[in-house]
Symmetry: none
Subunit: 143 residues, 2 copies
Amino acid sequence: MSGFLGRYEKRLDDKGRLSLPVPFRRAAADGPLVLLQYQASALTLFPGTAWGKIQERLMEYRRSDRSAAAYVRRITSFAVEVTPDKVGRFLIPGWLQEAASLEGDVLVVGSLDRIEIWNPGLFDSHLEDGAPDASEFMHKIFG
Amino acid sequence: MSGFLGRYEKRLDDKGRLSLPVPFRRAAADGPLVLLQYQASALTLFPGTAWGKIQERLMEYRRSDRSAAAYVRRITSFAVEVTPDKVGRFLIPGWLQEAASLEGDVLVVGSLDRIEIWNPGLFDSHLEDGAPDASEFMHKIFG
DNA sequence: ACGGTACCGGCCGCTCCTGGCGAGCTGCGA
DNA sequence: TCGCAGCTCGCCAGGAGCGGCCGGTACCGT
């Protein structure tokens, strides 16, 4: 099965719920998802399986490096476990909406093993950051 | 099952009891919890299983290192076993509240295998301490 | 053009929260 | 040693907030 691809323009309803695009619903097939913020300007949604690996890395890192505890705390305190309802919606807690500047229209973007949720304006400006040297990268991958 | 995640704003009632956030209740499913202070500014709550491992580490360390006894004593003397009541509340002894500057509003934060209880103001300032180099850490974990 | 699917808003039911009350225990005094 | 009183702990019930379900509607594909 190929990873998550594509972009979907969505709107948070007045309760702060996001309706997961249909092609991404399978992410929730094998249990709950983990929604978190690890980069300043977006939220990221991990399927249970992908999250399991991340979590192990976190615990291992916390044991081996004393400065890691603060980072782990930062991540877990900006994370929640979510389960979409029967029609594919889940609630994004208010404090996560604020953390990622989400309000009204949002952009849901597939990214292989994870799904990202962006403020549309921020997404566009971040795309441009990645523009220089793109051709070099493209060659490495596709050439 | 994924670890404990998320942040919950709670209030100690006038008896000094804390109502455990619903997503964390499962921590008490298999027996009593251990509440202790091992870092200056927060209390930490361990489920029985996680505590078992810590306890073994403590005993092993005390046997192997003569300076460990004082540390062990320090930890155990700031620890209690607690069991939530039928509606999920448990008492935080006054001397532990004082030790962690807890009063009135508190922040309950999941951290994988454990749960931390913070004075909200202290938590925010500690988050900022962990900020530098965060991108490096995030890359190691999520990259 | 018609059928099916997905979106969206509103409503209902349920769970969860909070304060109060009762019972049991402990400590002190007689 | 026994009784009383104060306190602490645990249970219970009312109320509110929220999550989940269901209907109508629009859109898309056939």
